[in-house]
Symmetry: C2
Subunit: 212 residues, 2 copies
DNA sequence: GATTCCATAATCGTATACAATCGCGAAATG
DNA sequence: CATTTCGCGATTGTATACGATTATGGAATC
């Protein structure tokens, strides 16, 4: 694995955890020093992430985690709704016990105190979708998850409730175990629509969420 | 516009035209010399394209245009079928005469001798989808178009027939003019399925298409 | 004559170095 | 006292340079 890949993975992990607040400036020298490499592979990795709008290079100012508007969030979930059911539909017939075990582990991990909800959420979905064998689609969906991760982290903390989300995950998983792709997709669509609505609250509620 | 953006755009144009045959090695010094810059912004631009698998960095060997398998092509069209109708559905109500004119121009451009069919194809679809205002989705679809462009160029040359494709485009455009999103989406889905089938021939036909 | 091995050339990947740009704060001015 | 302007510090963006790896061609050997 190349140096660039390692940097990319390191930053992507932080994004999926929702640790990089929108508006944060990433200083390249710091990142380079942290990872023990020079600036060049760092920049190359950041460009890779910027390709899917997870970061933004501003002219002579550096790299910033872009703030999402309500419309951006809606687009993200619109795309998730377009892609993820298709992935799941293709995945269900190919699911093995390994994939299902991975998904269960991800659900268990999200219950642990101090765990990252968005990261576990991605791990769950990724475990299932992985069976489809669509690398390009996986990368797209991963970037969508990463894009909204900080906001998901917000609303899952505010409400006590990844509870309903967790329950929906369980039902999706059960449909997958049953090999019922259509039911799994329907449940997934509902799941995504609810998540989209919940996220929309973060943007439209009067109380400023501190991210504008 | 930064240096990296210019390089990225230059290479992306060549990809959308289908000029970069799969298996081609891109030499960084050459690109840098052609564009009058150094290697570093070139590499950064190539990393951006590599992020969506349009290029691949192989360790200490350089950057190559990856060859697609039949499965890769199927995935690409599967994703197009998932995303593009959604884009179009959101776009139709927002279409202005400007978008429609752009789409017509793209169709006209594809008839010109020596024109790039995949590029004109992208221009047509992009003109319509643009009205949706989904930047992320647009980037995704653009990368999907670029990924299959060399293969589309192949089968549109072999058959005399971008003819049927052109006719389908016309009908989609008419549905858009009529503001009939559902009809436009249905036509688009048929259009994509036919394109996918035509492309599949390139891979499965006995006569080696010279790209393996 | 085919194959293996080695040396050379070419290309890549990364570090170091430097010029350009931007932001911030202090000083000067109205 | 508010506002504008100038200059310094910090950070970026790009070029140059160098070590490392890979491909290639010819000679030696079986």
């Amino acid at each position: 694995m190349s140096t660039v890949d390692e940097v990319q993975q390191a930053v992507m992990e932080r994004m999926l955890r929702g640790e990089l607040a929108p508006g944060t400036w990433l200083r390249q020298d710091d990142l380079a020093a942290q990872l023990g490499v020079s600036k060049i592979p760092v920049r190359e990795a950041l460009h890779r992430l910027a390709a899917s709008d997870l970061l933004r290079f501003e002219n002579n100012r550096g790299v910033v985690v872009p703030m999402l508007t309500a419309e951006d969030a809606a687009e993200t979930y619109g795309l998730r709704l377009a892609i993820e059911p298709e992935l799941l539909r293709r995945a269900v017939p190919k699911l093995t016990i390994v994939h299902l075990a991975e998904a269960e582990m991800a659900l268990a991990a999200s219950d642990v105190q101090g765990a990252s909800v968005p990261e576990a959420n991605w791990a769950f979905h990724a475990a299932l979708y992985g069976a489809a064998g669509w690398r390009r689609g996986m990368a797209m969906v991963q970037s969508l998850h990463a894009a909204v991760a900080p906001y998901v982290a917000l609303y899952t903390q505010d409400l006590g409730g990844a509870a309903t989300s967790d329950e929906e995950h369980q039902r999706i998983l059960q449909a997958c175990r049953d090999g019922d792709a259509e039911r799994a997709c329907s449940l997934l669509e509902v799941h995504l629509r609810e998540a989209a609505a919940a996220l929309d609250h973060v943007f439209t509620e009067d109380t400023d969420a501190g991210t504008r």
